[in-house]
Point group: C2
Chain length 362, copies 2
Amino acid sequence: MSEAMLKTGATIGILGGGQLGRMLSVAASRLGFACHIFEPGVNPPAGDVAAKVTTANYDDLAALTAFAKSVDVITYEFENIPTEALDHLESLCPIRPGREALRVSQDRITEKDFLVGLDLKTAPYAAVDTLEALADALATIGTPAILKTRRFGYDGKGQARIMAPVDAPLAFANMAGAPSVLEGFINFTHEVSVIGARSIDGQVSCYDPGENVHRNGILHTTTVPARLTSSQRMDAVLLTANILNALDYVGVMGVELFVTSEGLIVNEIAPRVHNSGHWTQNGCVIDQFEQHIRAVVGWPLGDGSRHADVEMHNLIGTDMDRVSTLAAEGNAALHLYGKADVKSGRKMGHVNRLVPKKPAKT
Amino acid sequence: MSEAMLKTGATIGILGGGQLGRMLSVAASRLGFACHIFEPGVNPPAGDVAAKVTTANYDDLAALTAFAKSVDVITYEFENIPTEALDHLESLCPIRPGREALRVSQDRITEKDFLVGLDLKTAPYAAVDTLEALADALATIGTPAILKTRRFGYDGKGQARIMAPVDAPLAFANMAGAPSVLEGFINFTHEVSVIGARSIDGQVSCYDPGENVHRNGILHTTTVPARLTSSQRMDAVLLTANILNALDYVGVMGVELFVTSEGLIVNEIAPRVHNSGHWTQNGCVIDQFEQHIRAVVGWPLGDGSRHADVEMHNLIGTDMDRVSTLAAEGNAALHLYGKADVKSGRKMGHVNRLVPKKPAKT
């Protein structure tokens, strides 16, 4: 056994107690690990399946200290953890994936600079801190374009479309003074994502890419296999490996890609398990959650080969009304997050619909 | 939605906090339910993945009351729950599977009488309370035979083989005065088991039978598909449905069967999820744990069809030394129970090895 390999019975600290933390904790339990959740919100979904929950804010140094001292490794379910909290935690306990992945992915400009530095394609982009800078950026990038906060955006939040220069002042006002980035629109046929994993000793494994459809800025469905030529599929996997290696990454990462006539363009990277990888729970022997846990505890990666065609369908808000129907559907696996309050736009669960994989034609 | 159907966010009480409770709690979380574990032992394996744990004995009426009042339905991971505790709990909260299944399965004589009443075959058996009764029973049943305590036996505990009448006194002494049953040996080729499920409205679903190999009285491997003719497979499933319906059963049950030249003989039934059904975690869309939870919360049963050939291998005691090797094996899913102390004969985990299912020959 590698020295770095945590033994069954060790405790994993997870920053964030939402559905991703919940499913990470379940995966950790399969390998004999207990989880301790750190989450500012009360009654977090992950708390139902964790050995311990700390309810505290990220500026509570005493709580962070006690948390870090109670666990053997720290991971996280979201990338927007305050830097000061990370500095403090890192002085007490290893954090995986490491700081570099967080530094890069917490800021859209830093992330795009990093990707461009790897010779990967991104949408045209420019930093925007003033209305004048926005006008300059629009002159270069053109419309339509999209203005986004550099930090702390998710699920379409902190974004404004600019269809013509006249929309610029309102879009800028919507950023509420936050440093922003203007991104040019990409003429893409569809979006795919690769869920990649890298172990502590540099082993890389990627799941088969999935094809994503969004509605109202929120992921609606992911379908595997995605519509990709075999060379596109190869490109998608290799560029993901490239990103993982460049960051000396440990854990699972989601890489969103636009498919265009000029090749694959990287939309964004997420240094964590990813909604578009939920299909792996029912399509693979080892799902993305266990793969992430394996990586962060220093285990070898598991077998992520796909044994079925899957469509993952998110259940948002009042989609929960359909649960009794979905529960009775054949070849369907429901995954609900135990959230008490149904809210519009809130991710409440997902369903994985399976079609057994056809044997390859010979 | 059926009135009996518990909604996401409800709490399931589980009596027993071992590995079965642990895996039931994980399955419950997938459907949005929280679990409250009642367990006399400290730091139970299920506690790592439960919203709440009560550490108390089964004669602690105050603890039982508080537990029952905090949950919406009660289920259990083992059948040997003291009757007084059940009486008390049942007065406060529904228990599923119901009392009849426990009454029948808690006593080997009652169980065999019940099976015989359904026209099912069992080993020849006779109640033994005295050494004289044992001599009489041996005269009828012959040797070899096996003497077992009527109640509270598991994993080969509370059993003694009698190869010749001269062994009788020692075997009887081993029962330590507990009411016992003498069972005749069955000349069987192999053992199979059926994991059956029945919903609250009487829907029945069975997993494909698995073939079991025991070592030292403990399950060693379960392999699917089992060696059975199609008519034997049909018989196995139908007799399981017969048992489930006769008990008005709600939940998952394990039915162990001996395969003989004269047909299938029922070895024993277990009114709970069963070690020989662990393969379903990686061979089916819906595993036995979720199937059990679905039944006890009043949901429709899920799709338990099998998509792979699987060999489940228990990890007992020092088998844990092989974890680092198993972790790197392809097509293998590890399931560890998080038990801190490795003890001889203790179930520490299991591994499911998969072979993708071959398409049926046409």
